[in-house]
Symmetry: C2
Subunit: 326 residues, 2 copies
DNA sequence: TTGTAAGCGTTATCAC
DNA sequence: GTGATAACGCTTACAA
């Protein structure tokens, strides 16, 4: 079933059918005839042919570092809602924690497979920047800020600072478990925010109270062990993410300490599970779903030929809960 | 940059270039010439043109009910790894909890937008079955069994039965929090497995000890409240999923009961967070990531013209942890 | 082993 | 308003 057959059945030329489909000028009479035939046959134009002809694919490539993360899930949800509404489909590329894969996908998409790209960024290597410069396709970066590109990111610095303030309530010996500072947002900005809160309170900082780990709860667990072995006197532990904080808290509770009486804990991200455990995890809410929507909207703008780069820093909400002191 | 230009630059016909690209017969001499030109120009064939010409898109549609679920994330991870290796891309369709949307996507993909479909099924309405029958494209169903279709699913019945056995250790008054039985796997099979364990132990069942809810932790929390208000004497609560169980556990602990001394708890799915909370959540591990891989492999088979329908029931592992008695 | 030529199913540009 | 006609960039008989 193709446009020629439809044209024949309706007794018009295929150009007219095409115009009908694309809101061109068609007389009411022929309009009706064509509509009828289409209804009868259930005809749908071949999107492959349309892609070839129009150079538009109606697809957006979304590159994520891994699938198993609540924040990523929420952002994807936001993206998918907006894209769907705009008639776009989402080509999801899962880099599985590999920077090399991430670059591969970037190149793959760059070669005109998609009309636009949303990149969940973690770190920016030289290679990344080179790949981004070579890009012919509109792009929005999610989760990190990068000069010269449209991006949507969280206010990591201030979120961490305020979360640290809440954690430091009546506490002066505190440890920090974070991720590599190569990750500017989650690694660097959050740590700096934390340190800013310390400075504000006049609490001295000793780099040996810092432990670095990956993004999983197991990582947080091990990092807590390492940290607390080194500094059993710590009265509070800050996790760069809720997942890390939850891992750390598990170790702390397992080793005979009360939370928050002996050790207070806080994280960032407001994961669902954080409010279910006892005591409930103090955290900072990020508007992840909205971030995804925002990124998708900016990308739609860009794809519509609006060349304005935009940087959007999302807000946050501090959530004092059971793991910090009164 | 298209195949004609490459052909001109290499001094061959475009057919030869095409053959070169598709592993057809090309003399070593021309092979080298073409390779050189391609290296110089960075030429990549237009996948849109290839799609139109070959009727293959190299894309697989994956329909999920929602994004925010650890089990779904893990299955997607498995799918993406296998598809990637086979050179396919993943078109992710998020139905956002809407059956209507799910059907829309099914139809959309059915119209030859993709070479194959993986459907994360929840319920099968008449409409679903009609849509599935009309499907021209290879399909694998994930998470549910459906006669006549290739599917990969969990052993929900036996997993629930064994989990219930472990929960019923020294306990005879027990409640069950589940989801709608329209969902044959998570709703029906798990409940039946649970009831089978009860029967085995000779424990009578009273339907008023059943509460039904959605998939979120909040749902589990509320269902626990409803259930425990009705039956304060319950000594154990079974959640059809870990998320539900965690929600229920939060309510139980919040209301002054000790887990597992006063009330034992178990769930299904082995979510990461389950092993981090104290006491740690007893559960059943499902091989979700492997399920995704399996589904993708079967789909690849199907797309290769192997018309063998396959049903794969995945195994499980029972994980007694802190929320059940000795 | 290579080239010619005929599509794949659309949309866009023209005349009419 | 409408209909020829020419692309879009590729693959694949078929012939050489």
């Amino acid at each position: 079933m193709n446009i020629n057959e439809i044209a024949n059945m309706a007794g018009v030329s295929r150009a007219t059918v095409s115009r009908f489909l694309n809101d061109g000028y068609v007389s009411t009479e022929k309009r009706e005839r064509i509509q009828k035939v289409i209804d009868q046959t259930g005809y749908k134009p071949s999107s492959q042919a349309q892609m070839l002809r129009t150079k538009r694919t109606g697809q957006v490539g979304v590159i994520i570092p891994f699938t198993d993360s609540e924040s990523i899930s929420r952002m994807i949800s936001g993206i998918s809602v907006v894209l769907r509404q705009a008639g776009f489909q989402m080509l999801l590329a899962n880099a599985e924690n590999s920077v090399r894969e991430e670059l591969e996908y970037l190149k793959l998409f760059a070669e005109n497979q998609v009309d636009g790209i949303i990149l969940f960024a973690t770190v920016f290597s030289r290679e990344h920047k080179k790949a981004l410069e070579a890009l012919q396709v509109p792009l929005v970066i999610l989760g990190q800020r990068l000069d010269g590109y449209s991006c949507v990111y969280q206010d990591d610095f201030n979120a961490a600072k305020e979360a640290a303030r809440m954690l430091l309530n009546g506490v002066d010996r505190v440890g920090y478990i974070g991720v590599s500072e190569q990750n500017k947002a989650i690694g660097r900005a959050r740590k700096l925010g934390f340190l800013a809160a310390l400075r504000e309170k006049g609490i001295p900082w000793d780099e040996s109270c810092y432990a670095e780990c990956g993004f999983s709860a197991e990582d947080g667990y091990q990092a807590a062990e390492e940290l607390m072995d080194r500094h059993p006197e710590l009265k509070a532990v800050f996790g760069a993410t809720d997942t890390i904080a939850l891992g750390a808290m598990a170790w702390i509770q397992e080793n005979g300490k009360q939370v928050p009486e002996d050790v207070a804990v806080a994280g960032i991200g407001d994961m669902t599970l954080g409010k279910l455990i006892r005591p409930s995890l103090s955290s900072v809410h990020f508007y992840y779903q909205a971030s995804g929507q925002e990124a998708a909207r900016i990308l739609l703008d860009l794809m519509n030929g609006n060349p304005t780069n935009k940087e959007v820093k999302m807000g946050y909400r501090v959530l004092p809960r059971g793991t910090v002191r009164g």
